[in-house]
Amino acid sequence: MSKKYEIVIGLEIHAQLSTDSKIFCACSTKFGNEPNSNICPICTGQPGVLPTLNKKVVEFAVKTSIALNMKKIKGESIFSRKQYFYPDLPKDFQVSQYDKPLAEHGEIEIEVDHSPKKIGITRIHLEEDAGKLVHVGSDRITGSDFSLVDFNRTGVPLMEIVSEPDIRSPEEAKLYVQELAAILSYLGVCDAKMEEGSLRCDANISIRPVGQKEFGTRTELKNVNSTKALKDGLTAEVERQIEALESGEKIIQETRHYDEKTGKTIALRSKEEAHDYRYFPEPDLVPLVISDAMIAEARKDIGELPQAKIKRYVEKLNLSAEAADTIVAGKDLAEFFEKCLKSSDKAAELSNWIIGSVTAYLNEKKIGIGQSKLTPKKLVAMLNLIEKGTISKKIAKDVIVQLLETEKSAEEIVKASGTTQISDESEIEKIIDEVLAKNAKSVADYKAGKITAMGFLVGQTMKATKGRANPGLVNQLLQKKLSA
């Protein structure tokens, strides 16, 4: 990327809060139900209804505000009506917060090239989600014949987190979203899965010549559904803006969409009129006033956050920074790991298995550890079998796959397949004798001083036992026999 221009990015994150019911009514937030089965007069805006704020939504937002170091949490915030027409919005206005958001002025730290960098958070506010549209007759809105509307998502609580324009590269944008997603998921307030839409991201991006104070004209990149697409989309947009400026064109303030197939951003139809939402206070919802007591209560509920956890894994458990990062990045992995530690003190070994074979399997199957059959108890039991010498590490690599796939314990798997490690000296000696008889030349080489022949003979013995012989014992016995 060009050294001539500085990139300026600010992100707006919409996090779907993991409550059971909607923000202003008792409809379920469950995903995947029959269309329009979770709707009621309140969320569809029938006349004469009265919305009431979900207490848990407030608790979640306060918890998040504390975790994101917001300076202003205490005090009043107001819900407003944001008015626009769109078929996914049954009331013709969205209840959101405008001039008095729930929290303001925070920051989080990300790690860029091994050094910490603070990204400011402008504000956190609460609002309701819109419904879902299915466009029929085309895979995009343009060209479709008609659309079908499902209001199940209407009124699902959203928390919008707006960053300062502190982000200076597409990579930083990705790191910021990852960090935020980890925090939200550790707080237990949001699933934080971009692919599933529980976390959505809009990016404002502009470039300016290095040294210039004023921001350049920005464009908004919408609807990216993974951190990779966010990074790639921003990279493509930076390139487009540089090219435009270099060739004397002007950047137009508009909304753009990143097409993952072409790797380019394209302008969405620009709105005929500038945004004019005519916000005004929602008269049906009384002001929300956060007290010191509510903040203190929420604080009690905040467990160990990702950064602190990584630090502890590295400093107290002696994991490498990479291993700690990988485990902490998935809340379910970290929980699994910590459950293992309750009955095992082999932190390093456990983490090796978790970030190695286990993660490889989960990634391949595209499932979480909770959807596999592996339990902390089963993994610890397998480690104990390795320690006792019942199985070798090599065999364990096959065992772990079965632990992930079946209900069986390591012991049952090993027994059934006869892959227990052979630690019986007389049995190994018998096999060694056969190997030595078959490989007289190597034996002669070794005796003539060619030490490397030893490795070959160890390999042959292991091969003859299909990897089951205890390697330490094989080495020891071979030495003894060859020097005899």
Partner: protein
């Protein structure tokens, strides 16, 4: 502060209201009358009065996070001018 015919046209457009010339004139006049009436409040010193967002002095009205089954979904669906199975069907939005 006064409202011009242009303001009325702008707001009408945002609200998707088709107004005749006559209605535009009439509404401009009426809206200005309303504003003039409200302007009386400027005669008072309101410096120490916090802006009123709500007419009742209440705060923090909450409900517990309990999901309840939705009973009248069919009635709500029946309000739609056009439906398809359990979805609302709407005409195309963009040409």
């Amino acid at each position: 502060m006064t409202i011009s015919k242009k303001d009325v046209e702008h707001v009408a457009k945002l609200a998707r209201l088709g107004l005749s010339e006559e209605e535009k004139e009439k509404l401009t006049q009426q809206l200005n009358d309303i504003l003039k009436y409200a302007e009386q409040i400027n005669q008072l010193d309101t410096d120490k009065v916090p802006p009123t967002s709500h007419s009742i002095p209440m705060q923090n009205v909450f409900r517990e996070d309990e999901a309840k089954p939705c009973r009248n979904t069919a009635d709500i669906l029946a309000n739609g001018p056009q439906t398809q199975e359990t979805t609302f069907r709407v005409p195309k939005m963009l040409e």
